[in-house]
C-alpha cells in the first residue's frame, strides 16, 4: 500500500483537507473520510450516476475520479446542495411529480438536474432526456422524473 497523501479541495463550500490513501476514488473519500453518505455507489464503474457530484460546476461520477485528481477543485455534493434554495425547488418538484420511489438514484438525479438547469434554464424534453441519460433509475421508467425536471425549470424561471 502507498503511504497516505494530503488532498485539499473545497467541499460543499468549505475548505477540506484529507490525509488519505492515494488509491481512493473521490467517492470513497466523500463517503468514508468525509462521511457524506448521500453520495451513493450503484455500480462503481461510471455507469449509473448514483455517485454524481458537481466538480467545478460540472456533473461527474465520483466513482470514476481518483481523489488525487480533485486537489484544488470545487466539489459540491448532495449534502451541500440540499441546503440551497434551488435544491428546495428541485426536490419539491420531484416529490410532487412522484419521481422518487426507492430513492437510491434520487440524490444523483437531483445533482444532474441541478447541473442541467444551471447550464440551460429552459431545457426542452429532448435536452432533459439527454442531460439525464448518464443516470439510471430502475423504478420509475423516467416519465415522472422528466416531469419533475420540467416543473422545476418552470418554477425557477418563475421565481427569478
Amino acid at each position: 500500500m502507498n503511504p497516505n497523501v494530503i488532498i485539499e479541495f473545497t467541499l460543499d463550500g468549505k475548505k477540506a483537507r484529507f490525509e488519505t490513501s492515494p488509491e481512493k476514488r473521490l467517492l470513497d473519500v466523500l463517503r468514508e473520510d468525509a462521511g457524506i453518505k448521500g453520495v451513493k455507489e450503484g455500480c462503481g464503474e461510471g455507469e449509473c450516476g448514483a455517485c454524481s457530484v458537481l466538480r467545478n460546476g460540472r456533473l461527474v461520477n465520483s466513482c470514476s475520479i481518483p481523489v488525487i485528481a480533485v486537489h484544488g477543485d470545487d466539489i459540491l455534493t448532495i449534502e451541500g446542495f440540499s441546503r440551497t434554495e434551488s435544491y428546495r425547488i428541485i426536490s419539491d418538484s420531484y416529490a410532487e411529480a412522484g419521481a422518487v420511489q426507492c430513492g437510491f438514484c434520487t440524490p444523483g438525479f437531483i445533482m444532474a438536474t441541478a447541473a442541467l438547469l444551471n447550464e440551460n434554464p429552459t431545457p426542452d424534453e429532448g435536452e432533459i432526456r439527454k442531460a439525464l441519460s448518464g443516470n439510471l433509475c430502475r423504478c420509475t421508467g423516467y416519465t415522472m422524473i422528466i416531469e419533475a425536471v420540467k416543473s422545476a425549470a418552470a418554477r425557477m424561471a418563475g421565481s427569478e
Binding site: 455507469e47 439510471l136 430502475r138
Partner: protein
C-alpha cells in the same frame, strides 16, 4: 373514482432526495468487520483441497462448518447451502469467506486462497438439462379427445431469456451477535423469511433472532431470496468473531451471483377443430432453475396456472418442469413465472391467428376470459372482467386498429419498417392456492398511541412485516388506515419492519401487500375505531387472515381457485425497425389496467411506468447469456438497462372495478406491468419484419440472421 385514489405526496421523498435516507451501505457500527466471499471459479466440480495462507491477527475464515443448525438457507425449498461443502455446482458459488477489519485486506487474503477442484461435466442450458426439481401436470377438460378429432394441429416453441433485477442498491447485510442474541439488518423484502432461515441455520433459539429491514433501494423480487443467504453468511461470521460483520456486494458480484429471472422454453401445440375453433392446447413448459431448487417450484406453479394467458381455452394439458442446470439458482423477479408464460401464450395466439387467417387482435378478443369462465386449474372467474371496456380505451388512445392496417402494407426497400402489437395479460393476486391460509397466516396489528394534538387524539401505529422498497407501501397502507378511521394521513405511522416489534404479516411479494395485508389493516382499523369511539380501554387491534370460504383449492391436484382475484391489463406497443441495422426502436407504449380500486393514482402510475420499462427492456435490450455457467454480461456496461433515451413514456389508464375482498376494492397491482408489454413488443416487431418473433430478447443480430 373513490376518493382514496386521489394522489398524495409521499413523505419519504424528502429524506431520499436529500441523501439522508440510510441504506445498508451507509450504516457503520463500532468495531465492525467486513466480509469478502470467495466464489467458485468453476462451474461444477469436487472440492479436493483448500489451501489457506497464514492469516494476520484479527482475520478469520468462515465456511460451511460454522452453522450450528444446517448449512442451508430456507427459501421455500431447503437446499441452497450458504457455503459449498464438498462440491460446487455453479460458477460463483460461495466456498469460503474472509472476515476482518479492512475490506481490502480481506480481498487480498481471498485472492491468496487456493481451492483445488476435480472438474465435473456441467449442464449449461435448458436444452441440455435432463434432471428437474419439479414436474407438474394439469389437465382441464378433455384435451386428448380434442387432439384426436382436430382438423389441424399447430405447433410452435417460445423462448425467453434471463433477466437481471438490477435494483439500483446492491444487496447488503450487517449481522451482530451479542449476549446470545443475533441481530441482522439489511436490504430485504421478507424479514420473517430471513428470521426463519436463520432459525434453521443456527441453534440459538428463534427468540434470540432479530431481523430489521433497512431502507431498501429497489428489489423487484431480487431481495426475496438472496438476502436469506447473505444473512446466514454474515450471521455465521458475527457468531464466530463476536463482532458486527458487514457485507455489501459490489455491482459485479451482485450481477454474477444473485438469482435472476428463469429462462424458459415453452412448446405449445394447438388443436383446431373442424369448424376452425381452437379446441385445446397441449403445453410443455420448462423453466431453467439453475443449480438449486430454492423457490423454483412456486415460480413454475405461477407459470403453468396462467399458461394460456388471458385467453379461455376449454381443454388443456400443461406439463411444467423446473430444470436443473449448473448456474446460479434462478429466483424471484416481479411477475414470478408469469412473464414467461404470458409471452408464449400471446405469441402463440399471434401465430394461430396468422395460421387461421384472422387478425391477432380479433382472435385474442374472441378467446378472452369472461366472467364465469373456468381457469386452467378449473377455478371460476367470479368477478366482472372488463376487457371489452379496456380494449375501447386503449384502441382510442393508441389508434391500434388503424395503425395495424396501415403497417400491413408492404414497405418499400430502405424504408423504416413499422409495426404495432397488442397483448392481453392476467395476474392472480397473492399466494397461489391455499398459501395465504396454510403457509403465511398473515397477522397485522394496529396500536393507538396518545397524541398531543388539536386535530386528532391518537397516533395510529401500523405494525406489519411488509416493507417499503420503493413501491410506496409505507404511504398506501397508511392511506388505507387513515381513510378507514377518518383520520388525516399524519395521524397514521408506518413502522419500519423489525421482527422484535412487528407481527408476521408475510413477505412483501406476489402483489399481496395491498390486497391481503391492506385488507387486514382495514378490518383492524374498523375495530380500533369502534373501540376508540366507544371509550374502550383496548387500544390495539389485530387481524389474522381467513381465506374466504367460497374459494376452494386442492394442493395435491392443483384443482380449484389458484388465486382469489385476478388483475388484468392490455398493452399496445408500436415499433420501428431499421432496415439496415435491424435496430428496434419503441416509438409508442400504452397500457390499460384493472387493479380494482386505485389506492393512490400517482403511485400506481409510477408502478406501471417503471414496470413497463422493465418489460420493454426484457424483450429488447436486456440480454444476459450464460457462457460456461457465468453471466457474460455482469456490469451495466454490458447489461444495458433502459436510460432516459431508450423508451417513450407509457400512457396509462385505469378502470374502476372494485374487488369485494380488497381494501376499498383494491387488488394486485405491482407485478402486472411486467406481464404484458413483452408480448406486445414481440407482436409489433413481428408485424414490422413480417416474421413471427418467438424468442426474447429480440436483438438486431437475431433479426438480421433471420432475414438472410
Amino acid at each position: 373514482m373513490h376518493k382514496i385514489s386521489t394522489s398524495t405526496l409521499r413523505p419519504d421523498s424528502k429524506t431520499k432526495s436529500s441523501g439522508r435516507a440510510e441504506y445498508i451501505s451507509d450504516i457503520e457500527l463500532p468495531d465492525m468487520l467486513h466480509m469478502v466471499i470467495l466464489s467458485a471459479g468453476i462451474q461444477h466440480g469436487k472440492i479436493l483441497k483448500k489451501t489457506i495462507p497464514p492469516l494476520p491477527v484479527g482475520y478469520h475464515i468462515i465456511g460451511s462448518g460454522d452453522f450450528s443448525g444446517i448449512n442451508k438457507a430456507t427459501i421455500v425449498a431447503q437446499d441452497w447451502p450458504f457455503f459449498a461443502e464438498d462440491e460446487v455446482v455453479y460458477y460463483g458459488q460461495p466456498v469460503l469467506a474472509v472476515v476482518g477489519s479492512d475490506k481490502i485486506e480481506c480481498g487480498n487474503i481471498c485472492s491468496k486462497i487456493i481451492i483445488d477442484y476435480e472438474e465435473l461435466p456441467a449442464v449449461s442450458t435448458i436444452d441440455e438439462a435432463v434432471e428437474f426439481f419439479n414436474d407438474y401436470t394439469i389437465v382441464k377438460g378433455k384435451p386428448d379427445e380434442c387432439f384426436k378429432s382436430a382438423g389441424r394441429i399447430l405447433e410452435n416453441t417460445y423462448r425467453t431469456g434471463m433477466q437481471e433485477q438490477a435494483y439500483m442498491e446492491p444487496q447488503g447485510m450487517i449481522a451482530e451477535f451479542s449476549g446470545g442474541r443475533l441481530t441482522v439488518r439489511g436490504s430485504m423484502q421478507c424479514p420473517y423469511y430471513i428470521k426463519n432461515s436463520l432459525n434453521n441455520a443456527f441453534d440459538i433459539g428463534g427468540d434470540n433472532i432479530r431481523v430489521i429491514q433497512t431502507e431498501t433501494g429497489g428489489a423487484f423480487g431480487g431481495k426475496e431470496d438472496y438476502p436469506s443467504i447473505l444473512a446466514g453468511q454474515t450471521a455465521a461470521a458475527a457468531i464466530v468473531t463476536g463482532k458486527p460483520v458487514k457485507l455489501v456486494m459490489d455491482r459485479r458480484s451482485d450481477m454474477l451471483i444473485t438469482p435472476k429471472r428463469h429462462p424458459s422454453l415453452i412448446r405449445i401445440r394447438t388443436a383446431v377443430d373442424q369448424s376452425g375453433r381452437i379446441s385445446a392446447m397441449d403445453i410443455d413448459c420448462r423453466l431453467d432453475a439453475g443449480a438449486y431448487e430454492s423457490l423454483s417450484g412456486v415460480v413454475l406453479e405461477r407459470a403453468i396456472f396462467i399458461c394460456t394467458g388471458a385467453h379461455n381455452i376449454e381443454n388443456i394439458r400443461v406439463r411444467g418442469r423446473s430444470m436443473k442446470t449448473n448456474h446460479v439458482p434462478s429466483g424471484a423477479f416481479r411477475g414470478f413465472g408469469g412473464p414467461q408464460a404470458l409471452f408464449a401464450a400471446e405469441m402463440n395466439m399471434y401465430y394461430a391467428a396468422l395460421e387461421l387467417g384472422v387478425k391477432p387482435v380479433d382472435l385474442k378478443r374472441r378467446y378472452q376470459y369472461r366472467q364465469g369462465d373456468r381457469s386452467v386449474t378449473g377455478g371460476t372467474f367470479r368477478d366482472d372482467i372488463k376487457l371489452d371496456q379496456m380494449f375501447d380505451i386503449i384502441e382510442r388512445a393508441s389508434d391500434y386498429s388503424r395503425k395495424y392496417k396501415e403497417y400491413e402494407r408492404p414497405s418499400s426497400p430502405g424504408e423504416r419498417r413499422r409495426g404495432i402489437g397488442i397483448s392481453y395479460a392476467a395476474h392472480g393476486g397473492a399466494f397461489t392456492g391455499s398459501g395465504e391460509q396454510e403457509i403465511i397466516k398473515s397477522l397485522v396489528r394496529l396500536k393507538a398511541e396518545p397524541a398531543e394534538n388539536e386535530d386528532f387524539k391518537h397516533f395510529i401505529r401500523i405494525l406489519v412485516s411488509n416493507v417499503e422498497m420503493g413501491q410506496g407501501a409505507s404511504t398506501t397502507l397508511r392511506k388505507i388506515v387513515a381513510e378507514t378511521m377518518g383520520l388525516p394521513l399524519e395521524a397514521v405511522i408506518y413502522t419500519v419492519p423489525d421482527t422484535d416489534v412487528v407481527p408476521d404479516s408475510g413477505p412483501t411479494v406476489a402483489s399481496r401487500t395491498i390486497m391481503i395485508v391492506g385488507k387486514l389493516l382495514q378490518d383492524a382499523a374498523e375495530e380500533l375505531k369502534k373501540n376508540i369511539d366507544s371509550g374502550s380501554p383496548v387500544l390495539t387491534a389485530e387481524k389474522r387472515y381467513v381465506h374466504p370460504e367460497e374459494f376452494e383449492w386442492d394442493e395435491e391436484t392443483f384443482k380449484g381457485d389458484a388465486y382469489p382475484a385476478y388483475s388484468w391489463s392490455i398493452n399496445v406497443v408500436e415499433v420501428e425497425v431499421d432496415p439496415i441495422t435491424f435496430e428496434v426502436s419503441i416509438t409508442g407504449s400504452w397500457g390499460v389496467y384493472d387493479v380494482g380500486t386505485a389506492i393512490d393514482l400517482r403511485i400506481l402510475k409510477g408502478q406501471m411506468q417503471g414496470g413497463t420499462a422493465q418489460s420493454l427492456a426484457y424483450s429488447t435490450i436486456e440480454r444476459m447469456e450464460m457462457s460456461g455457467g457465468r453471466p457474460a454480461q455482469a456490469s451495466f456496461t454490458d447489461y444495458t438497462i433502459p436510460t432516459t433515451l431508450d423508451f417513450p413514456d407509457t400512457e396509462c389508464f385505469f378502470i374502476d372495478n372494485p374487488y369485494r375482498y380488497g381494501p376499498f376494492g383494491a387488488k394486485a397491482a405491482g407485478e402486472l406491468p411486467n406481464e404484458g408489454p413483452a408480448g406486445a413488443v414481440a407482436a409489433a416487431v413481428s408485424q414490422a419484419v413480417g416474421r413471427i418473433i418467438t424468442e426474447i430478447p429480440v436483438t438486431p443480430e437475431m433479426l438480421e440472421a433471420a432475414s438472410r
